[in-house]
Subunit: 549 residues, 2 copies
Amino acid sequence: MKIALAQINYHIGNFESNTHKIIEKIDNAEKAGANLIVFAELAISGYPPRDFLEFRDFVEQCEKSIDLIARRCVKIAAIIGFPSFNDAEKGKPLFNSAAFLFEGVVKSLTNKTLLPNYDIFDEYRYFEPNNIFKVINFKGNNIALTICEDLWNVQDNPLYNINPMDELIGQNPDIIINIAASPFNYHQTKQRKEVLKRNAVKYNLPLIYVNHVGAQTELLFDGGSLVMSSTGNIVGELNYFKEDFNIFDIDDIKNNAQVTDPNSEHSEIESIYNALVMGVRNYFQKLGFDKAILGLSGGIDSALTSAIAAKALGSDNVYNVLLPSRFSSKHSVDDSIKLADNLKMPYDIIKIEDAVKSFESTLSPFFKDTPFGITEENLQARTRGVILMALSNKFGYILLNTSNKSEAAVGYGTLYGDMNGGLSVIGDVYKTQAYELAKFINRNGEVIPVNIINKPPSAELRPDQKDSDSLPDYEVLDEILFQYIEHRKGPREIIEMGFDKKMVDRILKLVNINEYKRYQTPPTLRISSKAFGMGRRMPIVAKYLDKIN
Amino acid sequence: MKIALAQINYHIGNFESNTHKIIEKIDNAEKAGANLIVFAELAISGYPPRDFLEFRDFVEQCEKSIDLIARRCVKIAAIIGFPSFNDAEKGKPLFNSAAFLFEGVVKSLTNKTLLPNYDIFDEYRYFEPNNIFKVINFKGNNIALTICEDLWNVQDNPLYNINPMDELIGQNPDIIINIAASPFNYHQTKQRKEVLKRNAVKYNLPLIYVNHVGAQTELLFDGGSLVMSSTGNIVGELNYFKEDFNIFDIDDIKNNAQVTDPNSEHSEIESIYNALVMGVRNYFQKLGFDKAILGLSGGIDSALTSAIAAKALGSDNVYNVLLPSRFSSKHSVDDSIKLADNLKMPYDIIKIEDAVKSFESTLSPFFKDTPFGITEENLQARTRGVILMALSNKFGYILLNTSNKSEAAVGYGTLYGDMNGGLSVIGDVYKTQAYELAKFINRNGEVIPVNIINKPPSAELRPDQKDSDSLPDYEVLDEILFQYIEHRKGPREIIEMGFDKKMVDRILKLVNINEYKRYQTPPTLRISSKAFGMGRRMPIVAKYLDKIN
């Protein structure tokens, strides 16, 4: 039996495009002699459809697409994910289903048992868990069909009380097929392979895994669909961060014969870079936009964002605006121009001085003789924000946000100023990682001017300002933030790791009191196991760890 | 047996204050001769603690508070909600528990069985459902202790496959106690009483219900704790939108003897008003702020927001800023001044013309001879936003957002302009409801100038602009929005209700393509069964119902 793996970039709710892509792959697979083609979890709707699942009309559109696709599966069979109605009297209204299509109809449905409901996942919000287990017999092979999380309950401390494969193994399956919607983070690819291997080895079965690829706003699906022997060897692997398609013979997989070189493992930083480029590209493509605008400050964050956008959209489509103030250093302008020139990107210089002065004179009867402070710093950032948004509105650019994760964490940014944007490109990238990414981009020669990488970070909102005036070194800050955000360690645990108590207390307080700012930030491309946004849900009005002065 | 009901306004993560309030009520109840005092669900932590529950440190703080409180419960017993660790090898790490405290220790824990995971609820994200059922025997009474949702599976189409009271009824309970965290919406109070009555009558048991009161950012808990006889009569009821405390004798409840007048039923619009006032008040109190700022446009939305804020914070604490442009009509300024005068609120007039002109001249080399359009309209709104935020930053005001639900739905608002604010006061109030609220506020005489209520709505961003130029009448718009947002009806269903197809398609498209704007709006006080924000989770980059031109 020949099995085709179709790794596709779906678009949420775009039934026309998703169905078209699926049917195209079915035709190709059939022509190439495949007996079965496998698509991803919730392929029909795109993942995650979120509360569109609460609209009966939306789910009915999914059903219609499935029926349309089933008619194309006459000689070839297909496995494909979609949301289906739960007809039982009790329970949640939907299942997260995999349809088995053959002979022109939906032959059977397999529903997902383990519904992830942590971090960015909300599946228990919509779906009733499955409790019926049945292998699919097709051409003499018993297929144990599972959906993503169904294979993930193999940790030492399992999250669920049931293991779908334990239920299916008694029915003598010949192969495990897992259809998934497993988003990228820079720990995930390795972990995913380990989990799949644990299953293959535990149940002594070959395994086929088909994932999504492409970005859905903040979620970045890296693909990496694969075929594994029962000993856990990767016999074949599809591409990362790209649509891909391949056909494997089940006998070859069983015989562990065909051990092709898996795709060369990418370095962590290269994967992050590829993920971010795909994230920007798909955000624009799927919204129907071509061109980005951003403010270049002369610092590492905007330079990095610009370089990523140039790769994603093409240099011509990234409009860089330099917005110097009285506090901007000459090197900030020069370095920014050099970056734009290195990548042959269009740029303009727009001085903010007049607009800032106009605000200051409008406000002076109220501000009177109060000293220059945070308000005046914010005024500059907001003036820049207004200018960038005006250009965005006038010419149809999407404004890219250039904040990094470290500053988003401690609230170093101005709401309605530099926190503006349609998409936060590096908002899940710590400052220390931003430097690594810049160096990666420069690996074959200078793209981001070395001076931008080497100079001490500064917001340049008052004379001689440096980030280090008010924050610890980024190596220290990022490690404390990582323990608090990614690992959810409390103050006591972090202090026990050797960090200064006063510093830890202050940083954790900064993170917590700035939830209100992050609430209003743009969606952030997610590359870590815990990004700000949909996967991290914090109260705004709260009083935990914020009492320290 | 005498049972005290303690209806308290908790503060999330503020263990010191929550524990202090709880102990105070225990002392009062003991002095008044109560045998048992009942607090709300997750009282110790406040509700909803959200992802703080993923911090071991946070849950340990809850446990410490429970131990502290237990020591005060020597002669009196207490029932109180808190998150507890699940020590089992499998399953989620926590339970949503009710501790039974007596003789100075935690006598037993009862865990929540039915975990709501819809709308604003995420309980399955954190908690393992209970499957052990045991009544608590105390002073000869068997108490069937349940936690909020545990009583809610009594619909015709039940969401869950189990009913905790069905499990407990075999143990001969004498009374049902339900501790809850049930937020207000303007359908909820009535529905809640019906659900409680269904339980009392079905199991033929008296029932005690204790809810939270107070606002937690967007969630507004209305209280309404009550005591019900086994026939479903309300024998006693605590206050709405206020902390309250009362003691009832179980024999009186059983005998259905004491039928006191329940609190007079408030009208729907009065409840909404009270909820919003509490929402603003608690947002400021819990963040430690006193003073609000907002822009008064001369329209109904900002006037209403200002009047609500004046009630919540006191007139002196609401700073109104009039920000007229060349397009502002004289009546807008006059009406706004009249409102400020009616409520004796401070106000200032700050003309935006100079700042807008400065932006226009800064941008003119780039805009060249493009015509006046949306960009220039947004520029005015953003200039206002910058001025309001500058005053907010300088003097420590929180900016109130004044957008209503109708315009938030269709995207009629400027990001980083009039969509700014720390809190959206009426973002869950449809325009038609805004008029009703204004009339309610004026019920004893003019507070909001009648001219503001009577004139046709306009954004005044270009000459002679009216909302009706580009939107249907608000009666029609709001009904279509209500069907789509609150009832999740699809286009076909709404058109079948008699609305024009072209209009329905256009409005639904506007709602969907403006998800990106709402993603960045402030938290919105929730008064409906489906508010924008945490209870409505939509993809941004999607293509459902947005293809119609």
